[in-house]
Amino acid sequence: MEGNIKLIRDDGLRLDGRANNEMRPIKIQTGVVQRADGSAFIEWGANKIIVAVYVREAYPKHAQNIDRAIVKARYNMSGYSVEERKRPGPDRRTMEISKVVSEALSSAIVLEKLPRAEVDVFIQVLEADAGTRIASLTASSVAVADAGVPMRDLVVGCTAGKADGKVVLDLSKDEDNFGQADIPMAILPRTGKVVLLQLDGDVTEEEFNEATSMMMEAMPRISELQKNALMDKYSLEDGE
């Protein structure tokens, strides 16, 4: 996180022309991995992420929870998804993301409704352009719902951060690389409760409050896209 690169233009807009509190465009689609119990594809700016969900009896037996489901998200990057070719397999960063995404989803799924089950959430990042963990979680939540897994709410996520000293919403790749802070957050929109929160960088208490408020405002719009994706599928299915 270095601050010596100009990230806000003279007209007050960001390098990609967005206002401080403006999101990149988002598209969500379900039913993209036919073999899976549920799936979703999200395009968030230039991010392209596909998620498939399988619900099954946990194996081996002694790994089962007799009274609730286990949720295992696995965040994985394609070799061609980033600037320098990524070697296959998990690394420390992807393992941490898998953990916080698993925990956020677990906080939303009604785990007691699926005793002994494992909900496997396979996340494949085909193209990465900042904010992949939040985009992954947002898509995963749709894929889990698409699989018919009972949820208290659809998890919705977003990032804010600090670039050129200003609080901005939904960091771009440049803002992520050269800004002063990155704050991914995810909530259950019905209650506003936070199920994922990370921060790294340098922010004051006031900046943190500004960033979280900005994200809270953006969440309903993303939440709407999630619901539409699920409805599209079912209305299409009805129409067939």
Partner: protein, 264 residues
């Protein structure tokens, strides 16, 4: 990692369903209406991953793969100082099928990768002599990564199509080293044709159910010179020499059609 619910992929197919498939193929028609030589619908999305040096999503029926290319500087092999390097890898992602697992590639993934790689390499599709930055010291390395997102049979042909399409739209980022970017130099357009032996018939582009009832698979990779550059008999089963020779003829015909339709 062990699979969640240990199961033999073939176990999911009921004996009755197997019977239907076999009976139908005897009559020269397949359950989905295809004739024995027909491919399922093929959909190709070029440049699916704009950040990659080249890319393509290929769908054959419900089988879905993405190939992406990265071109990076690297060292040549000691025994070929004047040649760039290509490495190709297929990942059978666990999202694509219930028994596919995370972790190091399975024998199946490795076999598929190597068959696709041989077809491309031996047809001399990529002119690696034009990927040298400094003889013996520095060359371009072409990483071809192919992810299988949904598995419904015939990965090899889908992966070959995706890799060939992606290579054809690949740009070498020579501007990084102060030269001009240039299109990856391409000499040939290989196509692989995979057939399954079902009963006494050879069936092109088997879907998953057909793979599950088949006794052996055969792949032939042919380029526009009509020469054979790779062959692979796979799975448990056997072929007569006549069947193999017939497979070559079929491949030659169908390969040409696929090339003209999808790889211009």
């Amino acid at each position: 990692m062990v699979s969640k619910m240990p199961m033999d992929a073939s176990a999911v197919l009921s004996e009755i369903r197997k019977g239907f498939i076999l009976e139908s193929i005897k009559t020269g028609k397949r359950l989905d209406g295809r004739s024995l030589d027909d491919y399922r619908e093929i959909k190709i999305t070029e440049n699916f991953v704009p950040k990659a040096a080249g890319s393509a999503m290929v769908e054959i029926g419900k089988t879905k793969v993405v190939a992406g290319i990265k071109v990076e500087e690297g060292d040549p092999f000691e025994d070929s100082p004047d040649s760039g390097v290509m490495a190709l890898n297929i990942e059978l992602l666990p999202m694509a099928f219930p028994t596919f697992e995370s972790g190091p590639p399975s024998e199946q993934a490795i076999e598929y990768s190597r068959v696709v790689d041989r077809g491309i390499r031996e047809s001399k599709m990529v002119d690696t002599s034009k990927l040298v930055i400094e003889s013996g010291k520095r060359v371009w390395m072409i990483f071809v990564d192919i992810d299988v997102l949904n598995y419904d049979g015939n990965i090899i042909d889908a992966a070959t199509l995706a890799a060939v399409t992606a290579l054809k739209n690949t740009v070498v980022p020579a501007s990084k080293i102060g030269q001009k970017d240039y299109a990856l130099p391409i000499n040939a357009t290989p196509v692989s044709i995979t057939m399954a032996k079902i009963g006494d018939e050879l069936v092109c582009d088997p879907d998953l159910e057909e793979e599950q009832v088949s006794n052996g698979r055969i792949t032939v990779t042919i380029s526009e010179d009509h020469n054979i550059h790779a062959m692979q008999k796979g799975d448990i089963g056997e072929f007569s020499l006549d069947e193999i020779r017939k497979a070559i003829k079929t491949s030659s015909n169908i390969g040409n059609k696929l090339r003209e339709t999808y790889l211009r």
